[in-house]
């Protein structure tokens, strides 16, 4: 059974990665998971300086989902290089450095610094970040900004450049097309959806920042529709993300157009989910008589035209 796939010449041992922010820096749960069985590890988003993150409360459970407002707490790219990368280099899985920033220059600086290091297979760019120059407007909800970030980063590296799109836009496919044109090698779809919850007795938002990002099984139907929408317009690989708990969930993402998937929230429940999903994908492909898990990619049959914008809801 062939399980591997590649992006810009970098081979991933299988099609299941762990999502940024949901697997720490890869060393926290090494006793619990054989991380070398993963297709890859996306690090927590790295910014130039360390970030403390948001005040508590940062986590709220919702029906079949959770809200988070971590505020991209991270140790910063320098500490990452010194404290985390040496261990990550010893692993036999693809390390994807996820980068977050509040200016285009910061994205470039972080990537440039990481370019000088050994052991990083590629970059995933988190554009669900406030652009300080624009009064905090989210980069990722502005198609031009998204294109610019991609275009500025592209010449800085020969490694895979993966743009991670936000679902909080009207037509995510426009953003996918823009980053493909600007030279991205792949898109990750999706980051969290904006949501909130209220403590009705205290009459206060439960999260310190009022709103936060919704993830988990609750969002899987939305994530699938977003991946499907993107798959109609781009040729570059799509990495499907959103509420994946089982191999069956992952198959859904492959069928609608994802070349690989990432496991997010499920890691909090069982950090071995990624490994189990990879095993399950292999088993499923076997029962389907396939020789390559990749044969599931874009293999959904549908005789009707894509209907996201055309249906009566």
């Amino acid at each position: 059974m062939i399980e591997s796939f590649s992006i810009r010449g970098v081979e991933f041992r299988n099609r299941v990665l762990v999502a940024s922010g949901t697997f720490g820096y890869g060393d926290e749960v090494k006793d619990l998971v054989d991380v070398n069985e993963l297709g890859g590890i996306c690090t927590k988003s790295l910014s130039w300086k360390p970030r403390d993150g948001n005040p508590p409360r940062r986590i709220v459970e919702t029906p079949s989902g959770m809200l988070n407002s971590i505020g991209l707490a991270n140790i910063g790219v320098h500490a990452f290089i010194e404290e985390k990368l040496p261990y990550l280099r010893t692993l036999n899985t693809a390390i994807i450095a996820n980068i977050a920033a509040s200016s285009i220059q910061e994205y470039c600086d972080v990537l440039n610094l990481l370019e000088q290091q050994e052991g990083i297979a590629g970059y995933e760019i988190n554009i669900s970040c406030p652009n300080v120059k624009e009064g905090g407007l989210n980069f990722g909800t502005n198609c031009d900004m998204t294109r610019q970030i991609t275009a500025r980063l592209r010449p800085l590296t020969q490694k895979p450049l993966i743009m991670k799109l936000t679902p909080n836009v009207t037509h995510i496919s426009e953003f996918a097309r823009a980053v493909e044109e600007a030279g991205a090698d792949a898109v990750s779809v999706i980051n969290t959806l904006i949501g909130m919850a209220v403590d009705i007795r205290a009459r206060k938002p439960k999260l310190s920042t009022v709103t936060g990002g919704l993830s988990g099984p609750a969002i899987k139907p939305i994530a699938l529709a977003k991946v499907y929408e993107v798959a109609q317009v781009v040729k570059i690989p799509i990495i499907g993300i959103g509420g994946i708990m089982t191999a069956e969930d992952a198959v859904e993402f492959l069928l609608v157009g994802a070349s690989a998937v990432q496991i997010g929230t499920a890691n909090f429940i069982d950090p071995a989910t990624g490994v189990k999903v990879a095993d399950g994908l292999r088993a499923f492909a076997e029962t389907q008589g396939l020789s390559d898990v990749g044969q599931l990619v874009r293999a959904m049959e549908s005789n009707i035209q894509f209907s996201v914008i055309q249906s009566w809801l």
């Binding site: 720490g24 619990l32 403390d52 940062r58 986590i59 950090p271 071995a272």
Partner: protein, 262 residues
């Protein structure tokens, strides 16, 4: 505030017994040898209460007592997860991660340990009591609850009681009770171990520093992972180095001097 990494184990454990010990408070006894043998008072386990998506996340519970291969939990029904736990039966199984977190710092030249628990904050005390007795410490336990019916003294020693409604012991908070006890006693001979709601811990922490008694606190808080990978459980640090510590891996126990409660 140590950063030690005890090896965490994920295991399927069997429910040995479940009973309601006092009004609304349940004991769950699990056969969990790998966890039982490696855990220390103040640590917790993270339980998957059901199989589906609701509740989605695991639920953290202090290890209330260890008896050979068995670990005991003490909890009350708050929401979905604890309701599911309260209906578990003998022979049911549970998916458990543990032991998690940093145990209480029991070192120090104190003679008497003052265990101060509000509500379900007493959960870790049976385990802590066993441990301290082996260290030949004297123990005085202070238990606060809303009402007398919710007081359990199981596996605790030398228990003083305060209730909000005055139906048992002092009418007032458990911190009031401790204050009364401490007045006039030499502070260096004591160490406080506190567990309960944040506002109670805040009051306790203030009393401890006012009376110069060393004080360990065990915090609760919302956790998504319980193992340091989500950054979801910050508590403010007192030193300036970093703004926050993680309750799940750097706590849940902290020396009261190391953190700022709000």
């Amino acid at each position: 505030m140590s950063n030690q990494h005890a090896p965490i184990i994920q295991t399927i454990v069997k429910v040995v017994d479940r009973r309601e010990i006092v009004d609304g408070i349940f004991n769950l006894i699990l056969q969990a040898p790998e966890i039982a043998y490696r855990s220390a008072p103040g640590q917790f386990i993270n339980i998957r209460c059901g199989e589906g998506c609701v509740p989605l996340l695991r639920r953290p519970f202090s290890i209330s007592r260890v008896d050979g291969e068995l670990i005991e939990l003490m909890f009350n029904v708050i929401g979905h997860g604890t309701r599911m736990l309260s209906s578990k039966r003998t022979e049911d199984t549970l998916d458990v991660l543990g032991p998690l977190g940093v145990p209480f710092g029991i070192a120090g030249d104190y003679e008497t340990a003052l265990l101060v628990g509000g509500g379900l904050g007493i959960a870790p005390f049976p385990f802590l009591t066993d441990f301290l007795l082996k260290q030949k410490k004297e123990i005085v336990t202070f238990v606060g609850a809303r009402t007398g019916r919710q007081i359990s003294e199981r596996h605790m020693t030398n228990v003083h009681v305060a209730t909000d409604d005055g139906t048992r012991g002092l009418r007032g908070t458990v911190v009031d009770l401790l204050k009364k006890y401490l007045s006039g006693k030499p502070s260096k001979r004591h160490k406080i171990f506190g567990c309960g709601p944040t506002q109670m811990l805040k009051a306790l922490s203030e009393l401890a520093s006012a009376s110069s008694v060393d004080c360990e606190l065990s915090l609760e808080g919302d956790m998504a992972c319980g193992m340091g990978i989500c950054q979801g459980c910050p508590v403010e640090r007192a030193d300036g180095k970093k703004k926050y510590a993680l309750v799940c891996t750097e706590g849940p126990t902290f020396n009261s001097n190391d953190i700022i409660l709000r």
